[in-house]
């Protein structure tokens, strides 16, 4: 059926009233592409049962007021439908099954923000062409990406859980924590170094100070340094990043003060070698071979240097304790070190060593959130399966909340 407006339009431009097999797109509109940085328009129109691959749609656009229209895109009319999963249910620029085409600014047709553009569609089949009504739209950059609102909700909810469990841990700090073998060994390693009169080597990994794993490594260094201060053992911390070195310097100094031995602190505990990966490794291997530390700690993020360090350490007979979130290096730490803190155990380590309510509460909060994610995984899979069985999209209202939309 041909809508009245279209008939009117066709009459206006003086085409024959007979519209033939190709029908003009229905409900055509031009809108600013939502949730973007601007310089882009979007087109939407209703699908037609007669869409086919032989019928093509051309997009013609011009600056308003329209002077010369320019062809900017062409595609078969049975493509560019909105499918389930293209948009979350809370942001639907076009209905499911409608046509939706994004028209980004391009060299051929630049789109500027704040200026109106007129767009019309040309439906073409065989020798017949049908123009749609022209529609106008203005592009603008947006201030909030609504599509990612689930991400923000997740962050806020996690913050809430974390603060809640920290508060709970302050009231009741005696939360059960399972054993982590690597951490029980920290004390043993320091003790052994003291007995043997050999130094302890502590590495903070390859990351800079803005890396979370480096921060975790420096927190653990503080705890280790405090124990070292008690035992009066030598601690050596070679660095690859001067900023991390400066931070560690402060942390170790503070640890000695807290342990009541500020006099035992040596300025050359932390030292810089170079910021280059393998020359640093060569130098640290050299230290291991020459000074034969009795305990080696590898905390933080690592790359290929991991095995070069741990194999050399193993050949000198040191106790080796590693902790890393670099999943690609975990197999090497696990096979060559005596103890390895796997993944998030690195972040948890400081809580174990200090037993402070804030840190213990964080662990609790993370566990609660992980339990939540686990149930999302299981229930989500069940819902997704049920959705296929029952042929319904109804479950997407729940599933969309845990999808990463861009």
């Amino acid at each position: 059926m041909i809508p009245a407006s279209l008939l009117f339009f066709l009459l206006l431009i003086g085409e024959p009233v007979f519209a033939g097999p190709p029908t003009s797109p229905e409900g055509f509109r031009v809108l600013d592409t939502p949730n973007d940085a601007g310089k882009s328009l979007s087109l939407a129109w209703k699908a037609s049962p007669s869409d086919s691959k032989d019928r093509t749609v051309q997009v013609w656009a011009a600056k308003s007021p329209p002077a010369a229209f320019q062809k900017v895109a062409e595609f078969p009319s049975n493509t560019r439908y909105v499918k389930t999963g293209d948009f979350p249910w809370w942001v639907q620029p076009a209905g499911k099954g409608d046509h939706y085409v994004k028209l980004p600014s391009s060299q051929a047709f630049p789109i500027e923000d704040g200026k109106p553009y007129t767009v019309k569609l040309l439906t073409h089949e065989g020798t017949q062409d049908v123009w749609s009504e022209a529609a106008e739209g203005v592009s603008a950059p947006n201030y909030f990406n609504l599509v990612q609102v689930n991400n923000l909700v997740f962050v806020l909810a996690f913050t809430g859980v974390l603060l809640g469990s920290i508060a709970a841990a302050r009231r009741n700090p005696h939360i059960y924590l399972r054993r982590i073998a690597g951490l029980d060994a920290v004390e043993e390693a320091i003790g052994r170094s003291t007995e043997m009169g050999r130094p302890i080597l502590y590495l903070t990994g390859s990351g800079g100070m803005s890396d979370v794993s480096t921060i975790a490594a420096t927190v653990i260094l503080g705890q280790v340094a405090k124990k070292v201060a008690h035992y009066e053992t030598t601690l050596k911390v070679p660095h690859r990043d001067p900023i991390v070195m400066a931070v560690c310097q402060e942390i170790v100094k503070e640890a000695y003060v807290e342990a009541g031995r500020p006099d035992a602190f040596k300025e050359d505990t932390n030292f810089f070698i170079t910021d280059d990966q393998f020359s640093y490794t060569a130098a640290v291997d050299g230290i291991m071979l020459r000074e034969k530390p009795a305990a080696n700690f590898f905390m933080g993020s690592y790359f290929a240097e991991s095995l070069l360090l741990t194999e050399t350490g193993a050949s000198t007979g040191a106790i080796q304790i590693a902790g890393t979130d670099s999943d690609h290096q975990l197999p090497f730490f696990v096979t060559t070190c005596d103890y390895t803190l796997i993944g998030e155990e690195l972040y948890a380590a400081s809580a174990y060593l200090s037993r402070e309510p804030v840190l213990v509460g964080t662990l609790r909060g993370q566990d609660i959130s992980k339990a939540f994610i686990m149930s999302v995984l299981v229930i989500g899979t069940a819902l997704a399966t049920a959705g296929v069985m029952l042929q319904t999209d109804a479950f997407n209202y729940a599933l969309d909340l845990f999808r990463d939309f861009k």
């Binding site: 800079g208 503070e254 030292f271 810089f272 095995l307 050399t312 096979t335």
Partner: protein, 217 residues
């Protein structure tokens, strides 16, 4: 003074953290420009920090040379290497190529840094073999599983293994695609929870040891 020493850094952390977390949700070009700019700033700051690093190197090795500690000659070699590289680098204007020809700086990089890097890296080939010999013993059920999956993948990855035991290829693919994906995904999720948790604590001022200890809660 206490404010400047304690509260001000915490306030800066909070503001920076919140602003750049929210930046992600703002598609406006201004927000993208902001993150690009501040990323550049970070590079400039670390450029300055290199001075600290060099001072540390200088201190360590100057002490060795002054005391004529064992191996002090090598510290001299290190200084010489630094000075020569810097001299050549500045003389070449920091470019490794000029008018299509290699500069002295480029030569130094290609014939010292590159082979040294490659050699250090390739030592891993020897170490991975000795680590396998030491670690892959069927001491416990867990160790046995580790050992078997490693051997199967080692077979499946090379033509000779695929030739001798063709099934190892499919098993390798399955191990990598399914089991390995599962574990990586779980570690990724867990690590991410931990790192988001730590980041939040830092922004909210609950974790402040990076400012040098201090547990004043």
């Amino acid at each position: 003074m206490i404010f400047l020493k304690r509260q001000l850094p915490l306030a800066i952390t909070f503001v920076m953290g919140v602003v750049f977390a929210l930046q992600y949700y703002i598609p406006h070009p201004v927000s993208e420009e902001a993150i690009t700019k501040v990323s550049d700033w970070m590079k400039i700051i670390s450029g300055f920090a290199l001075v600290l690093g060099i001072a540390s190197v200088f201190h360590v090795h100057a002490v060795k040379i002054r005391r004529q500690a064992p191996g002090w000659g090598y510290s001299g070699v290190l200084f010489a290497a630094i000075v020569i590289t810097m001299g050549v680098g500045f003389w070449s204007g920091g470019e490794s190529k000029a008018d299509g020809a290699q500069t002295a700086f480029g030569w130094l990089y290609d014939y010292t840094m590159v082979p040294l890097q490659g050699t250090m890296f390739s030592i891993l080939a020897f170490f991975i073999a000795s680590a396998a010999y030491r670690a892959f013993r069927a001491r416990s059920p867990e160790a046995s599983v580790l050992l078997v999956s490693a051997v199967v993948v080692m077979m499946g990855r090379v033509p000779l293994g695929q030739f001798l035991a063709p099934w190892t290829w499919d098993v390798t693919q399955w191990l990598l695609n399914v089991l390995n994906s599962a574990v990586r995904r779980a570690i990724l999720i867990g690590v991410s929870m931990g790192s988001v948790g730590l980041s939040l604590k830092i922004i909210l001022g609950k974790e402040r040891s990076y400012l040098g200890g201090g547990k004043d809660q």
